[in-house]
């Protein structure tokens, strides 16, 4: 087990290095001129040249990369945003918790509703509920996230007024934000009003973002349960005379959860891409809306620093999921 973990950790270094090169090259491959972009509205040909020289944009690319690497690793400085003129690390500390909170809420929503849905669909295999939930989950992955978000917002927030339309917290709430996780901050401050306000702001975005994971989790649960049900040891248990519910709980459910847990871990990517669209619609100041704005505004430092950060987190999360999976399933460690 230890060897497995160590091996994976060692692999991290080349992966992260490769990622940083990829992101660096990608930003440089974007159309447009970074020098002109940072001069903004009143760039002239001479001043662009000046800026180029000044900031080493005319140096060979590998030198630029090394300089950037040094900045990131040694100085822990990810640069400054052209749009807001704030350090990127500062923006990240503000925006990252927002996205994580939304992602966690979406995952909870998807799991709490997805697993039972999949389970009961499998139990009633071939019946109306099964077919209906099948179509339902296919519908879930057929609706563009931003469209769903817009419809939800329009119907439940604007027309019916049941939920807030935008943001993470209402105006009149005045609570400190030590962690920038609004729900957590409300708990720390022991403020039930702030707590429910933060939760209320998460409902619609979580539903929109969680719609696809919900559909996937339901499908995989159904498939996993069906698989397990057909296994010999389950049929043996039933043959022995054990009550159906006991069989379900002890054998079917537990073993079906294995692939389901894997799937949950793999949702990070989906949640991340979905966050870009959801946060934009609900005006949530998270990483997703930030990157979308940066692409529109050609804010190169943000694209470079922000995406690198996201990629690193992504790799780390996948690593954790792999380790967790290896802990549970010994077969993985040996591969």
């Amino acid at each position: 087990m230890l060897r497995f973990v160590v091996r994976r950790l060692l692999l991290l270094v080349p992966i992260l290095l490769g990622l940083s090169i990829l992101v660096f090259l990608w930003v440089r491959a974007l159309p447009g001129d970074p020098a002109a972009a940072l001069l903004g509205e009143r760039a002239t040909a001479e001043s662009i040249e000046q800026v180029r020289e000044q900031y080493g944009l005319d140096r060979p690319i590998h030198i630029q990369y090394l300089a950037y690497l040094r900045l990131v690793v040694v100085d822990r400085n990810l640069g400054t945003s052209i749009e807001s003129r704030r350090p990127i690390t500062e923006e990240i500390s503000r925006r990252f918790p927002a996205t994580v909170e939304l992602a966690v809420a979406s995952l909870i929503f998807a799991t709490v509703f997805g697993i039972p849905l999949g389970f009961f669909a499998a139990k009633r295999y071939g019946g109306f509920f099964d077919n209906a939930s099948l179509v339902g989950s296919l519908l879930g992955i057929s609706i563009p996230i931003f469209f769903l978000a817009l419809i939800l917002k329009w119907i439940f927030a604007v027309e019916l007024g049941l939920f807030p339309t935008i943001g993470r917290q209402s105006v009149e709430i005045n609570v400190d934000h030590p962690t920038n996780f609004y729900v957590l901050d409300a708990i720390i401050a022991l403020d039930p009003v702030a707590f429910s306000d933060a939760l209320w702001h998460l409902v619609l975005p979580a539903i929109a973002l969680g719609s696809i994971p919900l559909a996937i989790i339901a499908r995989i649960t159904r498939a996993a349960v069906l698989d397990v049900q057909n296994e010999d040891y389950v049929r043996t248990a039933r043959a022995k005379g054990l009550a159906s519910s006991v069989v379900d709980r002890r054998h079917v459910f537990r073993n079906a959860m294995l692939p389901v847990v894997t799937i949950i871990g793999l949702q990070t990517g989906l949640l991340l891409s979905g966050a870009i669209l959801t946060e934009t619609v609900f005006a949530i100041p998270g990483m997703g809306s930030w990157l979308a704005e940066a692409i529109e505004a050609s804010d190169y430092p943000v694209l470079q620093g922000g995406i690198l950060f996201v990629a690193v987190i992504f790799v780390l999360v996948n690593l954790l999921v792999d380790i967790a999976y290896a802990l549970v399933d010994p077969r993985v460690r040996l591969s």
Binding site: S142, F146, L150, I151, R238, P259, S273
Partner: protein, 302 residues
């Protein structure tokens, strides 16, 4: 591993080709798949016969249709209403099917062509080639699809072509993995070994024997990939990376441009959105039905 992967791994690669007849029987008995078939047919027919179906030119802007406000809703003259620059929404939705079909087909073609090529070469040749290609595919698969599409489209510069390429490239690793698995599974089959023993060239074996057996998972994956392509293209359009000419009757672009009228003229955004949902649902239903029909293991229950 992607979702398509997980779902299509069920399909066994060495299924005999007589499977097709059984599969068809199962497919038409599946109500969801029938619905999907109907939706997709509707979609494709609309796309192909747009010129005949659409009553007006989708790009013809006539401000007098607006009657001073935004925007007139569905009427007998303009079935889906009029958009903010005085164009017939129905005609635009109809032509939009054409764009979505085009995007989907091109994207899937790109993905299948390169993916199948890479995957079968990788699987059949094995060794260093295999490792190299698969590492590359792994890297691509580790980046979430939409994000990679955004990255590619941003790099190529926004536009219709960029969207098609971006969404297409995202599909490549999926098909590569699929084909590699199929090839690996069959590589050591008796008939392959026998053919090698007799001296049949590797290339012939690959193209004449192995590939045809790998078709059924490719078809399922392709159908599902088409659905994803349409959605991702809409997403890219929503973020401003799609066709740059705003008069283009493409559903994603239409959605972006009409979102601001959600309160005053909701039909402008809702109708293209529903069009996307319905078309994509159709492909997903068929793909799913195909998957179940082609997988013998899912028949019957304890």
């Amino acid at each position: 591993m992607s979702v398509t992967e997980l779902e299509t791994k069920e399909i066994q690669l060495d299924a005999p080709t007589g499977l097709w007849r059984d599969a068809w029987q199962r497919l038409i008995r599946n109500p969801a798949a029938i619905i999907g078939l109907v939706l997709v047919s509707l979609f494709v027919l609309t796309a192909l016969f747009a010129d005949v179906i659409a009553p007006y030119d989708p790009r013809d802007s006539d401000l007098s249709r607006l009657e001073g406000s935004c925007c007139p809703g569905p009427s007998s003259e303009y079935w889906f209403g009029v958009d903010d620059v005085g164009r017939d929404q129905f005609s635009r939705v109809v032509y939009g099917a054409r764009f979505s079909l085009l995007i989907g087909v091109v994207a899937v073609t790109v993905g299948v062509t390169f993916g199948v090529l890479l995957g079968s070469i990788s699987g059949y040749l094995g060794g260093a080639t295999d490792t190299l290609i698969m590492r590359l595919m792994d890297i691509m698969l580790s980046i979430p699809g939409l994000l990679m599409a955004i990255g590619i489209a941003a790099m190529l510069g926004p536009g219709l072509l960029s969207v098609m390429i971006a969404v297409g490239v995202v599909n490549i690793p999926i098909f590569a993995r699929l084909l590699r698995g199929s090839v690996l599974g069959q590589k050591h089959n008796d008939f392959v070994l026998a053919a090698r023993a007799v001296g049949v060239p590797r290339r012939t074996i690959l193209f004449s024997h192995i590939l045809p057996n790998a078709i059924s998972p490719v078809i399922v994956a392709g159908t599902l990939a088409l659905a994803t392509a349409i959605i991702d293209a809409a997403g890219l359009g929503f973020l401003g990376l799609g066709p740059q000419d705003p008069s283009t009757p493409e559903w994603g672009t239409m959605l972006t441009n009409t979102v601001r009228y959600l309160q005053t003229a909701p039909h402008l955004a809702i109708i293209p959105g529903l069009a996307i949902v319905v078309s994509v649902l159709g492909f997903n239903l068929i793909g799913d039905g195909l998957r179940e029909a082609l997988d013998p293991k899912l028949r019957g229950r304890t």
